[in-house]
């Protein structure tokens, strides 16, 4: 087994953590851009991802603060955004499902389809306007932030003992 020198390990962890934070910020900006180009603000429900982005931005700032309580708060907020993301995916599927009868290809036959077929068409966006997995980017970005918060450059108890011995 190859022992990793503590300072080198800390450097690697810091690098990965910064990369995760950078990806989080990129994810927030890219999602905001995408929502803006889609004009995703028709009604209160379409404002949910904007609120989630705001929460994610706040969480990112908190994650960068030195206080441990701030980092824990950041992780909690990231989990809230993850929940919003899951809700978004389910909501998009429901929107597509409800749009089935409006599609000219299925207007006359929608009610005759089995529920499995109806939901499959909704999930695969065969009917409806909502991209099914698009809200998932919020969850992915939130997970990046959550994982970044789990990384720490502080030495493990064993490493601390080894450092003191050295």
């Amino acid at each position: 087994m190859t022992a990793v020198h503590p300072p080198r390990r800390a450097l690697s962890v810091a690098l990965v953590r910064r990369a995760l934070y950078a990806l989080t910020v990129i994810g927030i900006i890219a999602t905001a851009f995408e929502l803006a180009t889609e004009r995703h603000w028709n009604g209160l429900e379409q404002l949910i991802p904007w609120v989630a982005l705001l929460i994610l931005a706040v969480a990112t700032v908190l994650a960068l603060l030195p206080a441990e309580s701030a980092r824990i708060a950041a992780r909690v907020l990231a989990l809230i955004v993850l929940g919003a993301s899951i809700y978004g995916v389910l909501d998009h599927i429901a929107v597509n499902y409800n749009s089935g009868p409006l599609d000219q290809r299925f207007a006359d036959t929608w009610e005759t389809l089995s529920p499995t077929q109806q939901w499959w068409y909704a999930i695969t966006k065969t009917v409806g306007p909502a991209p099914t997995l698009a809200p998932g980017i919020l969850g992915q970005t939130a997970l990046l932030l959550f994982l970044a918060g789990l990384l720490t450059t502080r030495p493990t108890p064993e490493e601390a003992v080894a450092d003191r011995a050295a």
Partner: protein, 125 residues
Amino acid sequence: MACKARISFFGVVTAVVFAATGCGGSTTTGDSPSTSAAPATTSAPADATTAPAGAKVSANTASDSEIESALSAAGVSNAARWAHEVVEYRPYPADDPNLTKLRDNLAKYNPGQETVDKIVSALTP
């Protein structure tokens, strides 16, 4: 002690986030013309099921039920659902009688040209 401090910190963070959320929501809904323009539709009967066939209603200011009634009169199937979509994509430019913005948004549902034409024929900006 540390636990109490954390809990109070979470409380402050949550309050700030939800306060910001509330501001955003109210601002956006305030932009909607439907709320300020509601009195403009009071000349029409509250229950618009009696609206004369062929009468156009405003896509910007008419109520959901008034639009549904107008769409039904125009022969649009699923009128209630389409009325909901018309309201959702407000506001529409007043200088576009062809309601291009509405047409573009309805096209996402693949309703067919005939249905879109019927919907637009029942509406004015």
